[in-house]
């Protein structure tokens, strides 16, 4: 008797569940754990669900270190997300292995995207199709320790790279072969591989890649001069060193800056939150230096994009597309910049005098018009190529010319492998 009652209940529950799913569609959104982004998406989901009663969004997050592993194994097993947040540099690998589907043209026409979004978002396009869109984009800027500047009688952030060297030399404390304080935090494995590739090489008159992104073009005297300039910061000027203060630790240069062991670092707008929480001293942000007071400005931009996986199909696809529309809307971007501190990806919001005047966000916003988003075909490999180009000179004693020659050959092989497989 009892048994029968239980079965009855079970059948009832199943029936309810079935009828409930007939009315509401549940979709899953995945991103890695980054407190402000997680809170922001939670809020956006609440707003979205209020506007779309038939859709429920499940929000799941994983530590950064295991995020791409989770996606790698879950999507083929059919238990992964419908919408996934990915670094734009991962797109070619993910797209090539079938982890993403293109955005539907009827809702996200390519020509409309290209009018409404910042040009660097073009890095989310492969072939003629977009494979995802960002809510926000990030650029680089110079973070400097205001207390340290004042203690050394320095009143303004450096305008040119020569200024930066002079300023950093005043701040550097180098004794007995050990660096006690670095004026400038060098981190080729942090943001500085971007600094060399997209900023210094261009400022020295070179171009990193051909327009079709198929050919490495930095192996020129200008490129070598840029690499020499960067490595001389350590080898000649002694204002900093890669891996300072603690080798191997993730974010060592940012930690060193927050601890007052480093006077200036190049970092992204995404670092504002961590530094706000972690730095006991006063600090400020300035646009990246250039070669001469009226020299060219360049910057590197990047973004995390929301893509649709092949698991989104039928009603889940429709619901996912609506959610994607919502989180890439102006309305979402306005909240995002205020809460997360990343810059809006829509051009309509970039020309905002309020943002430009913001002391922290201003320098990042100002950089957007002259920013480049490298088209990475294999981000991990290309990143390693440039880190090694720097370290070969600094740690291995290779000349900048020879090191860049090797880097260009290695990176060209990476590009060739990608384009030949297409």
């Amino acid at each position: 008797m009892k048994m029968k009652a239980w079965f009855g209940l079970l059948a009832l529950a199943l029936g309810l569940a079935v009828s409930a799913t007939a009315e509401t569609v549940t979709i899953t959104y995945w991103q890695y754990e980054f407190a402000s982004k997680v809170q922001m998406i939670d809020r956006l989901i609440a707003q979205f669900e209020a506007e779309n009663p038939g859709i429920k969004v499940r929000h799941e997050t994983f530590p950064y270190a295991v995020f791409s592993e989770k996606v790698a194994t879950s999507v083929p097993a059919g238990v992964g997300p419908h919408i996934v947040n990915l670094y734009y540099g991962w797109l070619p690998a993910w797209q090539g292995a079938g982890y993403l589907q293109p955005l539907p043209q009827d809702v996200f026409p390519t020509d409309v995207i290209e009018v409404e979004f910042a040009p660097l978002v073009g890095a989310a396009k492969i072939g003629d199709q977009y494979w995802g869109l960002p809510t926000a984009v990030r650029t680089l800027a110079l973070f400097y320790n205001v207390d340290l500047f004042e203690a050394h009688g320095i009143t303004a952030p450096p305008e040119t790279w020569d200024d930066l060297i002079a300023t950093a030399q005043a701040l550097t404390d180098y004794r007995g072969g050990r660096l006690l304080r670095a004026g400038f935090g060098m981190a080729p494995d942090g943001q500085d591989h971007h600094l060399v590739r997209e900023i210094l090489i261009r400022q020295f008159g070179g171009v990193p890649y051909s327009d079709d992104n198929r050919t490495v073009t930095y192996n020129t005297p200008e490129g070598a001069a840029a690499l020499k300039f960067y490595t001389d910061l350590h080898l000649v000027h002694r204002i900093g060193e890669p891996d300072f203060p603690f080798p191997g630790v993730a974010g060592y240069y940012r930690d060193g800056f927050m601890a007052g062991l480093i006077g200036m670092i190049v970092d992204g707008s995404f670092a504002i939150g961590a530094i706000t929480r972690g730095a006991p001293h006063r600090w400020a942000v300035a646009e990246l230096p250039r070669l001469t007071p009226d020299g060219e400005r360049h910057n590197f931009a990047s973004f995390w994009m929301h893509g649709l996986t092949p698991l989104a199909a039928g009603p889940e696809l429709d619901a996912s597309v609506r959610f994607l529309q919502f989180i890439t809307s102006e309305q979402a971007m306005e909240q995002w910049v205020a809460w997360v501190g990343e810059l809006p990806a829509r051009l309509s919001l970039v020309d905002n005098p309020e943002l430009l005047a913001d002391p922290l966000l201003g320098p990042f916003v100002a950089a957007l018009p002259y920013s480049h988003a490298t088209f990475f075909v294999d981000e991990a490999a290309q990143r390693t190529v440039m880190i090694d180009a720097v370290l070969r000179v600094i740690r291995g004693g290779t000349s900048p010319d020879a090191s860049l020659l090797q880097a260009a050959a290695e990176e060209q092989a990476v590009l060739d492998r990608f384009w030949q497989a297409r």
């Binding site: 690998a93 072969g177 050990r178 092949p310």
Partner: protein, 310 residues
């Protein structure tokens, strides 16, 4: 003996036979489990190694030995392979000899033996991430305590983990430090299990010191020695050939660096699989590593195993 007559019947099992059958029945459960989570994935890895990976099974294509040919032209893979061999050449003898030496010393003391044993074993049960961070701080060329100590003796600061030349031996030393406690424990247990009478008999025969160790202790330790060597070389937890976690954590932003000088085969495989999403190539690397581990383990067993009798 007369048995009561019955009709045609199934062959009766003896008590022993029935016991054996039950034993196999129980053993079949872990065996099935083992096949499902070990053997079957291994078969899949072989299959994957000749496949161009795609999420959609319908779009996976057979590429034959392409990945294996690709490997021999891949400078970074070959560097990882050389590094792994070097790690093994340094790490395996160091772990086993240090482990044996420390165990022999501990076996000779009575006081504070438990404390010393705990001290040597503690690193083995400390999370690899914590170990890596602590060593990264201690090995810093600028603030590290190790360079401060060297400075007292007038030795200039050493780059350690930041030097392409010193990084691999430094990582190997950290790994040995972390794993040696495991071997100390194995050898201590083995030393304790050698019957005291054997030593007494040997002493009566006039053996002592080195000859006693070489002729009595060492042969009786042989099974543990073989276990220690094979584990130190090949096991997933402490096997140098499968070194991964320590290397990754000692250089978070540039795994396997500087200049690829600390990269290992497993770390490279991980990068190919989970950074490049090139599972076919990653599987081919794992198949090669599997063959290497199998061959090395067989050679070790053949060379080291001695039959002995009390």
């Amino acid at each position: 003996m007369n048995r009561p007559q019955r009709g045609p019947r199934l062959p009766r099992l003896t008590l022993r036979g029935r016991r054996t059958l039950w034993a196999y029945a129980f053993l079949a459960i872990p065996l099935l489990f083992f096949i499902a989570i070990r053997i079957w994935p291994m078969v899949q890895a072989f299959q994957l190694s000749v496949t161009r990976w795609h999420v959609d099974p319908a779009q996976r294509t057979f590429v034959g030995l392409l990945h294996f040919r690709q490997m021999w032209g891949d400078a970074r893979f070959l560097q990882a392979l050389r590094n792994t061999a070097l790690y093994a050449a340094i790490g395996v003898p160091a772990q086993v000899f240090l482990g044996l030496g420390i165990a022999l010393l501990l076996n000779n003391i009575r006081r504070l033996r438990g404390l010393f044993r705990a001290i040597y074993f503690a690193p083995y049960v400390t999370p690899a991430v914590a170990v890596a961070w602590a060593w990264s701080f201690m090995l810093s060329p600028h603030f590290g305590v190790i360079n401060s100590i060297l400075g007292v003796f007038g030795i200039p600061p050493q780059p350690f983990l930041t030097s392409p030349v010193q990084a691999l031996p430094t990582v190997a030393a950290v790994v040995v430090w972390q794993f040696v406690g495991f071997h100390v424990l194995i050898f201590l247990v083995a030393l304790n299990s050698i019957p005291r009478e054997i030593y007494e008999a040997a002493r009566i025969d006039g053996a002592s010191g080195w000859p006693l160790f070489r002729r009595v202790t060492l042969p009786l330790l042989n099974p543990s020695l073989v276990l220690a060597v094979v584990m130190a070389t090949a096991s997933p937890s402490i096997g140098i050939l499968q070194l991964f976690t320590q290397v990754l954590n000692l250089r978070m932003y540039d795994p396997g660096g500087p200049l690829g000088s600390t990269n290992t085969v497993v770390l490279y495989m991980y990068q190919m699989a989970f950074r490049r999403y090139d599972f076919g190539y990653a599987a081919a690397i794992i198949v090669v590593l599997f063959a290497i581990i199998l061959a090395v383990s067989l050679v070790q067993l053949r060379l080291l195993r001695r039959r002995f009798e009390y």
